[in-house]
């Protein structure tokens, strides 16, 4: 036992070094290596720390070789993320914060910008007649106002679209609206645009996410949409809707998706980008104005009404002035009217002056010259005119001459001519002095006649006519046949003319109705019959409203066949006499 221990101890002391060498020869590891490995085996933390440096490289190599795939790793990563969020969401939030916040901010800013742009456009176009029309349209259609505005508010035209290489500023492709004059020297323009973009971004903003997206040049807006390798620049005339931005974004995205390699490795050959022209063309859009330009009927109508109104007012004013001028001229030459002043008072012309009471009434001139009382006012004070015309009027007014007398005035001398009875002449000679303006009265040309003579003359003028009438009747019969009725009517008219006279004097004309008979047979009886015939005829005349007082019946015998009137006739004789003398 003791020897064994001794051997062991000796072997142990001698063999430790040799054993180590032997072990190194066999397994290639010395004691230190074994101790290190022992630590890895016994201490997982230390082991984990050791392999942590190798694991990423190892996974990368495995992925490259295809030993594992992303789809294998995905559930692990997803689970890990889920667990992390479950346990403490703040950790992941802190990790994502620097990425998410700018992204969210950019998205919100983009949306706000779009909304403001849209709102601006809508507000700008809200109060025109066209937009008011849209309001009515929305009221009477199923579309909302917003829909109608969106479909009408934006009238714009994209003239040209450039695809520009972001790094070099070289023009990769361009399309243009056929109707537009395209930008010349597109290459230089696109390079300059790129330089301006770089200049603006470098000068005013250092944040990568804030990119220049619009340049306004006069009536044009250059809309810029930037991708990682290329830029879209659209030259827009007018107000494009905010939705156009989305079109540009989608276009630059799809170009990057389709030609990512070409863009990244661009070395100046632009032919390869021809295939993107179709995408660029999708950006060349426009909203045309109404195809058929409607004539501004309302404006034309209003203008016509306005012009018509003005012409009417001018014409009225001119016409009114013309008419009033004519009226004034007429009044100025009218005897007995003196105009001293005319003035415009609240749109009315006030004529002031003097007027003889016997002068023409100025109101009657209004109708002649088509002037309304709303246009003029007369303010005349009375006066006595010494003009011949007014003196004459005054003479007629004072003397009231019979129609057979004609008066005239010349230089304050009153003349009378014609016929007048003595009574009137006496009155006129007495009263002419009352006529203001008359200095003397000349009646040398006036025939002064006696009243009785006058009546006789009148009667004589009718006598022959009446006395030429006669009516023949049958036996014992006084009845007018149809022919005689006409004759009788004419006869009555003549009689009425005779009696239409001033018979106020003492003598009157009397109509003697004579019944004619003959001596044949019983002459006395014949006379009686003739007298009755005359009486019956008087009755007929009385029925015709001839005063019976002036009708006297009488009989007469026919002496021979040469007599003026036949047998059984009635004739007439006018006698100027006092009735009681008959």
């Amino acid at each position: 036992m003791a020897q064994s221990q001794q051997n062991t101890g000796m072997f142990g002391s001698m063999s430790e070094v040799k054993l180590n060498e032997l072990r190194k020869m066999i397994v290639g590891l010395d004691t230190e290596d074994l101790q290190r490995l022992s630590i890895f085996v016994n201490d997982p933390d230390a082991f984990s720390q050791e392999i942590s440096g190798l694991l990423p490289t190892s996974i990368k190599l495995m992925l490259e070789k295809g030993d594992i795939s992303y789809s294998v790793l995905m559930p692990v990563v997803e689970s890990a993320l889920k667990d992390s969020v479950k346990q403490n969401p703040k950790v992941l939030a802190d990790v994502l914060f620097p990425i998410m916040m700018p992204a969210i901010r950019k998205a919100v800013a983009d949306d706000l910008s779009k909304m403001i742009e849209s709102l601006n456009s809508t507000l700008e176009n809200s109060f025109s007649p066209k937009r008011l029309g849209w309001r009515f349209k929305s009221m009477f259609s199923s579309s909302s106002y917003a829909e109608i505005v969106l479909s009408n508010a934006y009238i714009f035209r994209v003239k040209q679209v450039f695809l520009i290489h972001k790094q070099s500023g070289l023009l990769l492709g361009e399309v243009s609206d056929n109707r537009s004059s395209v930008t010349k020297n597109s290459d230089m323009v696109s390079s300059m645009l790129s330089a301006i973009k770089d200049f603006v971004q470098d000068s005013f903003d250092t944040k990568q996410q804030n990119e220049l997206d619009t340049i306004k040049v006069g009536q044009f807006n250059i809309w810029i949409e930037q991708g990682p390798h290329a830029i879209l620049a659209a030259i827009v005339e007018g107000n494009a809707p905010a939705e156009y931005r989305t079109i540009l974004k989608e276009t630059i995205e799809i170009i990057h998706l389709k030609q990512s390699y070409e863009l990244e490795h661009f070395e100046g050959d632009i032919e390869v980008f021809k295939k993107s022209d179709a995408y660029l063309e999708s950006c060349v859009i426009s909203e045309q104005k109404e195809k058929k330009k409607k004539r501004p009927i309302i404006i034309m109508l209003l203008f016509a009404i306005l012009v018509g109104g003005l012409v009417f007012l001018l014409y009225n004013s001119f016409d009114s002035k013309l008419r009033i001028n004519k009226l004034e001229n007429a009044l100025r030459i009218e005897s007995g009217i003196i105009i001293t002043n005319n003035d415009n008072n609240n749109g009315k012309i006030v004529f002031e002056g003097l007027r003889d009471p016997l002068a023409s009434n100025p109101i009657k001139f209004l109708a002649i010259y088509d002037v309304d009382t709303s246009e003029v006012v007369f303010s005349f004070k009375p006066y006595i005119s010494l003009e011949d015309e007014l003196i004459l009027k005054r003479a007629y007014f004072v003397l009231e001459p019979p129609t057979s007398v004609i008066l005239s005035v010349n230089n304050h001398l009153l003349f009378a001519e014609g016929e007048a009875d003595k009574k009137w002449v006496d009155m006129a000679l007495t009263n002419y002095v009352k006529i203001i303006g008359v200095n003397s009265f000349d009646i040398t040309s006036l025939l002064v006649i006696n009243n009785n003579k006058t009546v006789k003359k009148h009667v004589n003028s009718k006598k022959l006519s009446i006395e030429s009438y006669y009516f023949v009747f049958n036996y014992n019969k006084v009845k007018l046949d149809s022919k005689q009725e006409i004759k009788f009517k004419n006869f009555i008219t003549e009689v009425n003319r005779l009696l239409d006279f001033d018979f106020s004097q003492d003598s009157i004309p009397v109509i003697v109705v004579i019944g004619h008979t003959s001596y044949k047979g019983n002459a006395v009886a014949n006379k009686t019959v003739a007298f009755e015939r005359a009486q019956q005829f008087i009755s007929l005349m009385a029925e015709a409203a001839i005063p019976i007082e002036v009708l006297v019946p009488k009989t007469d015998y026919i002496e021979d066949t040469n007599d003026e009137f036949p047998v059984r006739s009635v004739s007439f004789k006018i006698v100027y006499s006092k009735p009681e003398d008959l």
């Binding site: 790094q167 070099s168 500023g169 070289l170 230089m188």
Partner: protein, 164 residues
């Protein structure tokens, strides 16, 4: 058609603008140089039966007050570094600009143009300086905008380099 972006860099008053003025199609006024620091010109050149559309970015000369914006250099295929032979200081600026170009547009072909060759007697940049540049691998062309010397060639040459 092939399109290439060429930037023209150099210190102020080295003659960048004068160098290209009569050879290019230009629509923008000089004021852009002092406002946004760049002006774009265009030149179409035929090299080996191929038409190449060159877009020349004439970039405002770098000085103490205005630095060149690297974004203007990005994406360029060629670069003219323009020096004024009569001012050696422009060489130093040019070398710094070359470094900027290498960082910003590493694949850009670079040609150094030493301008004002019509005043060669007055040059401050020596033959040794030029040899030194060539030794470093840069292609150097002596030009004169005034005398119309080697300008057209410079454009052809840089186009060849870019296409290769």
């Amino acid at each position: 058609m092939i399109k290439k972006k060429i930037v023209m860099l150099g210190s102020f008053a080295v003659g960048k603008t004068s160098l290209v003025q009569r050879y290019v199609n230009s629509i923008f006024s000089e004021k852009y140089l002092t406002t946004i620091g760049v002006k774009i010109d265009q030149k179409i050149i035929k090299v080996s039966n191929a038409e190449v559309n060159l877009l020349l970015w004439d970039i405002h000369g770098e000085d103490d007050y205005q630095k060149i914006k690297p974004t203007y250099i990005m994406g360029s295929s060629g670069c003219f570094i323009i020096l004024d032979g009569t001012r050696k200081a422009t060489l130093d600026v040019g070398l710094k600009l070359i470094e900027t170009v290498k960082q910003t547009a590493p694949n850009s072909s670079i040609i150094i143009l030493i301008n004002k060759s019509d005043l060669k007697e007055e040059w401050d940049i020596s033959e040794d300086d030029i040899k030194n540049l060539k030794y470093k691998g840069y292609e150097v062309i002596e030009t004169s905008a005034k005398a119309n010397t080697e300008v057209e060639y410079a454009f052809k040459r840089i186009t060849q380099l870019m296409l290769n």
